[in-house]
């Protein structure tokens, strides 16, 4: 059950990040990289058309996985079987009276708006409006995630930090597939002006990536303060060590990005098709790095945060506490 829940959330978050990142790429990276006067059928149009198709599928996957997630969560949260929960008032209570349900309902409306945008036209799907809607779509889960549940100013700050983290992840890792698409299209096309577009897009992506990664790291540190709690916990706990591994991977990805984009991007812009191929491959490598980072995040997600590990130890003697439906490692007392 835990594995199914994890897989469902996996598909959901992966596809949600892709929807947002794809719009970011189309609007902020690809479109400005066009040159005025470029003819129809020009590679950027092809790239954006393909991207729109990918994003439509991603949005569909995101919605379907959200429904599965809801179906799995309702029995877990309420303790009632799904059939009873749907027949009675419980489903409504979940949707109305829990943060999880409210966030899901709001995001369903955003998904509908995004879908209309995707379906409406080949031109308007990547707009400021859709960027806003997709940003809200990606950021709202912070209200029902680990950062939620705090109180007052501190609680609001935790949620805000987590929202920045989600948006930054979307703008960087979520936009990488767009870059891969642009570079591979340019490489196959091979024309000088296409490679010029690809070079400019890569440069813009680098700038955007630098901002996103800075925000990602800063907000990640902010999140960690609440979840790790102390420097010693970084070494003492499993959670802490996983976090250190994650950070090391991110550093490696950044090194890869820096080296390749300062070396390869200018060559692509000057019409070097082979550089475009190398750059495409490296962007894919970066995506793989991102996947590995998120894999660690996945394990982090089912590991009791270091800050709370002490609570489990403290209360196992005097108070028998169990966590239903989680791994056996968490049961005690």
């Amino acid at each position: 059950m835990t594995a199914l829940l994890a897989a469902t959330r996996a598909v959901h978050f992966g596809s949600s990040l892709l929807v947002f990142g794809g719009i970011v790429f189309a609007l902020l990276v690809s479109a400005p990289a066009w040159r005025r006067g470029d003819a129809r059928g020009f590679a950027p149009e092809v790239v954006e058309r393909r991207l729109r198709a990918v994003l439509a599928w991603a949005l569909a996957a995101s919605v379907v996985s959200a429904l599965v997630w809801l179906a799995l969560e309702v029995p877990l949260m309420s303790g009632e079987p799904l059939e009873e929960a749907i027949a009675g008032p419980t489903l409504g209570i979940v949707l109305r009276d829990t943060w999880f349900g409210r966030v899901l309902t709001a995001r369903a409306l955003l998904a509908a708006a995004l879908w209309i945008g995707f379906a409406a036209g080949s031109r308007g799907w990547a707009s400021r409006g859709s960027l806003l809607a997709a940003g809200a779509y990606v950021a709202l889960p912070a209200l029902a995630g680990h950062a939620a549940g705090g109180r007052g100013v501190e609680g609001a700050l935790r949620v805000a930090t987590d929202m920045v983290h989600l948006l930054a992840a979307g703008a960087w890792v979520g936009a990488l597939p767009g870059l891969v698409l642009a570079l591979s299209t340019a490489r196959r096309d091979g024309a000088e002006r296409t490679l010029g577009y690809a070079g400019r897009a890569t440069r813009r992506f680098s700038t955007l990536g630098a901002i996103s990664v800075s925000a990602l790291v800063a907000s990640g540190v902010g999140n960690s303060i609440y979840l790790v709690g102390s420097w010693s916990a970084l070494i003492d706990t499993r959670y802490g060590m996983l976090l250190v591994a994650k950070l090391a991977l991110v550093a490696a990805m950044l090194a890869l990005a820096a080296v390749n984009r300062t070396r390869l991007a200018p060559r692509v812009g000057r019409g070097d098709a082979r550089a475009a191929r190398s750059l495409a491959r490296n962007a894919l490598l970066e995506t793989a790095g991102g996947v590995a980072v998120i894999a660690i995040v996945g394990v982090l997600g089912i590991t009791v945060p270091a800050e709370h590990a002490s609570h489990m130890r403290l209360h196992s003697d005097t108070s028998r506490a169990i966590i239903p439906h989680s791994s056996p490692a968490h049961r005690h007392g």
Partner: protein, 117 residues
Amino acid sequence: MRRALAAAWVALGLAWSAHASAHAFLDHASPRVGSTVHGSPADVRLWFTEELEPAFSTLSVQDAAGKRIDKGDARVIEDTIQVSLPTLAPGRYTVKWRALSVDTHVTEGDFTFEVAP
């Protein structure tokens, strides 16, 4: 290329599978866990590490025979849950709680306290 990307994205999701999940653990209680109180307490109150969802968090108190004796008016206020008690006879009582945190995770547990004359 396209298929590799798709696989990467599913895997990426698999990883994002649950950005850290903090459960609501019992922080402290009144009467204190395992304690002996002199005189009958007016209520049982539990403090948690996270904010709770009122809709699905529960609290009840049983006597030594397993019979429920609280007033059934359990209410959640942010990160606490409390229930009122009638006048209790001396003896051991068991508090049973189920907490749903705002981030959808359920914890449950129980502890005892003694009422001394």
